[in-house]
Amino acid sequence: MTILAVFVATVLGLLLMAGLDVLVFKQPFVRVFVDLLPVFPDTSTVFMFAAAFVMAAWVDFKMTDRLKKKFGKQSNKQGSEENRDAKQS
């Protein structure tokens, strides 16, 4: 859902900026929109958008939890669970 939210915000933001550029440059919408899109020579904005989507994907796919599960220490967790059980009993 985070990826979708970022995607919607990006598309709507680009449309809004293109709409304003139509008023400023008095050019057709499609031309202004294409000019606005981050394409090859202007790589900096491409990287920024890509980073935004990577971050959103990281959150959506719970990468931190997955990596913790795979590589994190498990002994502490077990210990805490044991303690909780002992307290409950």
């Binding site: 970022v6 709507l12 933001g13 959103a56 959150v59």
Partner: protein
């Protein structure tokens, strides 16, 4: 559970720094010779924003802007308006980042690549926004002290370097009062005063209608006084004509400081003022945007902060191609197409709808 309220002093400093941040650097747009009067004149109609927004808040028991829109316009249209406001706040954040980058590029870091500056700055903004409105408000007190101290320092140094010539503000009202009133209604009313609408989003945490009315009025009065003094300083040191053609008038005024060839190049101080101010303003806008988007997509706000900050950073690079276009777009097109509808028309219609739909004793 009701959210804990932000301290009224912190709310006041937050609103004051928010109002001062970018407007102090650009000053009042010099479309008329007596631009310092424009800020004063704009204050009076700006108070109508306080009346309108506090009427909205009191009609719905201090509900935030987004739930209020949904309540007034219905579920689907309300969500569309929430999305519209979220994108508007994101766009304004992007424009403010661009303002800051333009100034830093011209004053401090001339050969540093823009994407690097932007990326570093948006990381700071995102980190500030991640703390929530309470953390931003506490941070505002510190920033206000720094900004005011630097402004006073600037004024004192300008005075000691004999750069202040009071006659530079003459001729007074050479074209009459009408252009001043016109400029107040077409520019200064919407920026910065109208942008206070963003604080409606956080009203459950900021104290509701009663607090909003009082605190915002004090913030408006303080901002009006400080901005007028800043405009006067710019005119006294640069003159009416030079100020008209200067993009960053306060920066140019700071460049005039020269006390016995020892204290010079004070433009870095001005750059610091805008860096701190913009940091806070963008954090507020980014947080408001994440709240809106999170509400629609039912995600936690914290998860959206960094991705949306990066999007705002990319938008700040794409938003305009050069400085001249940036200023023209901001002064002309953004005001008529975005500020007026979203700061006045939609809130006014929302208030009318709320009053009709939720009349006292009337079932909806």
């Amino acid at each position: 559970m009701t959210p804990s309220k932000v301290n009224p002093v912190d709310t006041f400093t937050l609103q004051l720094v928010f109002l001062l941040s970018t407007s102090i650097i650009f000053g009042t747009p010099s479309v008329v010779p007596d631009s310092w009067l424009v800020g004063l004149v704009a204050f009076f109609p700006a108070c109508l924003f306080i009346v309108l927004y506090s009427a909205m808040l009191s009609s719905q028991h201090d509900l935030g802007l987004y739930p209020m829109l949904e309540k007034a316009w219905g579920k689907i249209a309300g969500k569309m308006f929430v999305l519209l406001y979220a994108i508007y706040f994101l766009y304004i954040a992007a424009r403010n980042i661009r303002d800051m980058i333009e100034l830093v590029m011209s004053a401090l870091l001339r050969i540093t690549p823009v994407p690097i500056l932007t990326s570093l700055f948006i990381m700071l903004i995102a980190y500030t926004a991640l703390g929530g409105i309470k953390a931003i408000a506490r941070f505002a007190s510190l920033i206000l002290c720094i900004v005011l101290l630097m402004l006073v320092t600037l004024a004192v140094f300008l005075m000691f370097s004999s750069s202040i010539i009071l006659e530079q503000m003459l001729p007074f009202l050479s074209k009459g009062m009408w252009p001043v009133i016109q400029s107040a209604f077409t520019h200064s009313l919407w920026f910065p005063y109208g942008e206070i609408i963003v604080f409606l989003v956080f009203q459950p945490e900021l104290g509701g209608a009663k607090g909003f009315r009082k605190i915002t009025l004090y913030a408006f009065i303080s901002a009006c006084i400080i901005l007028t003094i800043s405009d006067l300083l710019q005119i006294w040191s640069l003159g009416i004509e030079s100020k008209k053609y200067s993009v960053f008038a306060l920066l140019d005024a700071a460049r005039l400081i020269n006390i016995a060839n020892i204290i010079t190049r004070m433009d870095a101080v001005v750059a610091l003022i805008i860096i701190f101010g913009t940091l806070l303003k963008c954090s507020v806008f980014l947080f408001a945007c994440t709240e809106g988007i999170a509400r629609i997509f039912k995600v936690k706000t914290g998860k959206l902060t960094f991705p949306l900050a990066l999007v705002a950073g990319a938008f700040s690079i794409l938003v305009t191609r050069n400085s001249a276009e940036h200023v023209t777009e901001g002064l002309k097109y953004v005001i008529y197409t975005m500020h007026i509808p979203l700061q006045l028309l939609v809130p006014l219609l929302t208030l009318i709808l709320l009053r009709i739909r939720y009349r006292k004793g009337a079932a909806t």
